[in-house]
């Protein structure tokens, strides 16, 4: 399979400006991996190195065992069989949609090329748009054509550079789903670069969080969310409640200002640390509930499908956030109980 392996990749823009600092990443063949990181973490640099637009200082990149970048190896972009879907699509404005899609189809006869083009247009749900010019398409359509263009030559790897950025949020979900479907259909390995954690979690098979030029954690979306490697990652991939905790009960639980919390993994000899739980693991309860801690509501933020209730609790400097689904039973200033469900992680 076309698995992507990136090993010990480094890149710096001059002394004192390292961007990649020994980045390792493996994406199984046919999987869609999201590279998630804050601005300036080096994710775009990574993408350009894999595509061949930028030369790494050291490190290797292989796809399906084929070395793209390595000691003494620097394959030019046109020989990598790596497709890219840039931001805003970047369709060739001087070519029709069909000719854009067919651009990478060299070495095929005309009928074959047309068949493949039509197939790709159909794949992205834009059959019959071949004769249009790019400027006659909407943003979402342009993005889908860009994907069709990248997939048409059957690349072993497709790189998507924040492809949904320019789309408004209403369009985004739809296009994202279409892209995922199309990628699945072709079986290409894909890497999606994004700074949007929702996008990463919802569309990828694996998510690699990049921080300061290294992969801080690489896991399935669920594991990443449930078992973040540290509090920073926890906060980056979602809302997190951080509690000071002391290990007890032989390492199975930790004691926190919200009471005892079950740990998902053994604490590894640690006695105290930061306990991370998600707001949706907290529940509001009557003040006299047995396993609940008492607190005062300081703020309520309503989102429609749910709401976030901030509760000041004894032993905490800042209020803890509680996600509440359904109708809001409570308002600021009122007393409430808070209790913890599910498992949490403990970090140094």
């Amino acid at each position: 399979m076309n698995d992507l392996r990136i090993e010990r990749l480094t890149k710096s823009y001059g002394p004192g400006a390292p961007v990649l600092q020994g980045l390792d990443l493996t994406v199984p063949g046919g999987a869609l991996a999201a590279v998630l990181g804050p601005s300036g973490c080096g994710k775009t640099t990574l993408l350009r190195i894999v595509a061949g637009f930028l030369r790494a200082d050291t490190g290797t990149v292989t796809v399906g065992g084929r070395t793209l970048v390595g000691p003494g190896v620097q394959l030019p972009p046109e020989r990598r069989r790596v497709g890219i879907v840039p931001q805003e699509g970047a369709l060739f404005p001087h070519l029709s949609v069909a000719r854009n899609v067919a651009f990478g189809l060299t070495g095929l006869d005309r009928a074959e090329r047309r068949r493949r083009t039509e197939e790709m247009l159909e794949l992205v749900g834009l059959a019959g748009y071949g004769d249009r010019m790019p400027h006659e398409l909407s943003g979402g359509q342009q993005q889908r054509i860009a994907l069709a263009r990248a997939l048409a030559p059957r690349p072993e790897l497709v790189l998507l550079d924040e492809p949904f950025n320019a789309l408004d949020s209403a369009l985004r979900a739809g296009v994202r789903a279409d892209v995922r479907t199309a990628l699945r259909a072709t079986g290409a390995t894909a890497v999606l670069v994004t700074h949007d954690q929702q996008e990463a979690l919802s569309s990828a098979d694996v998510v690699a969080v990049v921080r300061e030029g290294r992969v801080a954690q690489c896991a399935t979306p669920q594991d990443l969310y449930r078992l973040p490697a540290d509090p920073w990652i926890a906060g980056f991939v979602g809302d997190a409640v951080l509690l000071p905790g002391t290990v007890g009960n032989g390492g199975a639980t930790a004691t926190t200002p919200l009471g005892p919390v079950t740990l998902a993994a053994p604490p590894g000899g640690r006695r105290t640390g930061t306990v991370v739980i998600r707001p949706e693991q907290l529940r509001l309860a009557d003040t006299d509930t047995a396993d609940a801690v008492r607190g005062t509501v300081t703020d309520v933020c309503f989102y429609g499908h749910d709401a976030m209730v901030s509760v000041a609790v004894d032993g905490m400097d800042a209020p803890v956030d509680v996600r509440v689904a359904g109708p809001l039973p409570i308002g600021p200033g009122e007393e409430t109980g808070v209790r913890v469900t599910g498992e949490a992680t403990l970090h140094a």
Binding site: P93, H94, M133, H135
Partner: protein, 351 residues
């Protein structure tokens, strides 16, 4: 929305550019075909580099082609630039004959040994005063330095260039310091009166507020418009203008200076045969033709110049005969010392 527009104009421009290219390629073949294998010394065709204006000499050069019985190609340009071109071409020059507006350019080629000595029979047709001292070029026609004046402002023009630096002409004199004829006149003055006197005169001219113009025509324009009262020019510009507009419409008159004044210098247009062109035989025939009665008459009648050979006298009305002119007695060969004149003009700050 902008693209198709841009595309259309691109196509238009491309078409507009391509069409004449094709045409040019076609015509290129013609000119290539007409180009003879030169430099073989046996060429029967002749290439003339003419520093004289096409409008002035084309008719006579057309006749010359018939007279010498060979194909004649004429390349028109500025005399000095053509001289520079010939010097740059060196012994691979395409020119068989150099027809110069003035003696200076011929002198420059003569000094570099680019010109061939002319047969004595040819030289003898022209007064020694109007040909090169090495016998490698000869004058063909002459023009006289005169003072043009505006009759509305001046009742009597001065009889000497030495008068125009007097206070009564302050800010009223125009001249063209970069004009070759003017520089020849200054050189003449240096020969006649010495460098010091000439330098003093130039300084006085400048201090007297004399105005500088780009050329003789502009100077004559300034006289006509009254911008200046007097202009130091060549005689034939006025006669041409009279021929163009009619005398009553030309707001200037000419004064020929008497008494051998340096301001009455006679300049010549002349020809020389290029030594290395392999066209000598035809070129020599051409020189003889230019000194023939037919050609000399042409210069007299058409360009309003003075004929220098074949005993022709000018029939132009109001033009004083050559013999009657009291021109300074000067060896034109010495006019080649133009470089010093130039240095002097620069020194004084006139060019």
């Amino acid at each position: 929305m902008r693209r198709p527009m841009a595309r259309r104009s691109t196509a238009l421009v491309a078409a507009a550019l391509l069409l004449p290219v094709l045409a040019a390629c076609g015509s290129d073949d013609d000119s290539a075909a007409s180009d003879d294998g030169d430099g073989n010394g046996r060429s029967s065709s002749l290439v003339i580099y003419s520093g004289r204006n096409e409008k002035l000499v084309k008719p006579i050069l057309d006749k010359l082609e018939k007279a010498v019985g060979a194909k004649v190609d004429v390349r028109y340009g500025d005399s000095a630039e053509l001289a520079a071109q010939i010097l740059e071409e060196g012994d691979r020059t395409k020119a068989g004959l150099f027809f110069s507006q003035d003696a200076g350019a011929l002198g420059a080629l003569s000094k570099e040994g680019m010109l061939e000595k002319l047969p004595q029979g040819t030289l003898d047709k022209v007064d020694a005063a109007y040909r090169g001292s090495d016998g490698d070029w000869t004058g063909v026609s002459g023009r006289v330095r005169v003072i043009a004046y505006n009759p509305d402002k001046v009742s009597k023009a001065p009889d000497s260039v030495h008068d125009v630096v007097k206070p009564e002409w302050k800010d009223k004199v125009g001249f063209a310091p970069t004009n070759a004829s003017f520089q020849a006149f200054v050189t003449g003055m240096r020969v006649l009166e010495g460098d010091d006197a000439t330098r003093d005169w130039l300084k006085a001219l400048k201090d007297n507020g004399a105005k500088t113009y780009a050329n003789n025509l502009a100077t004559l324009d300034a006289v006509e418009s009254g911008e200046v009262s007097l202009g130091l020019v060549n005689h034939y510009y006025w006669y041409e203008r009279v021929a163009e507009k009619g005398e009553d419409k030309v707001g200037a008159k000419l004064h020929f200076l008497p008494g051998g004044d340096p301001g009455a210098l006679i300049n010549t247009a002349g020809v020389g045969v290029l030594a290395d062109s392999g066209q000598s035989a035809t070129a020599r025939k051409a020189v003889d033709y230019l000194l023939s009665k037919e050609a000399q008459t042409y210069f007299a009648e058409q360009t309003k110049e003075y004929p220098l050979a074949a005993g022709v006298t000018s029939p132009v009305e109001d033009l004083p005969p050559l013999d009657s002119l009291e021109a300074p007695d000067i060896d034109l060969g010495k006019l080649e010392s133009l470089q010093e004149t130039l240095a002097m003009l620069q020194d004084v700050g006139l060019v």
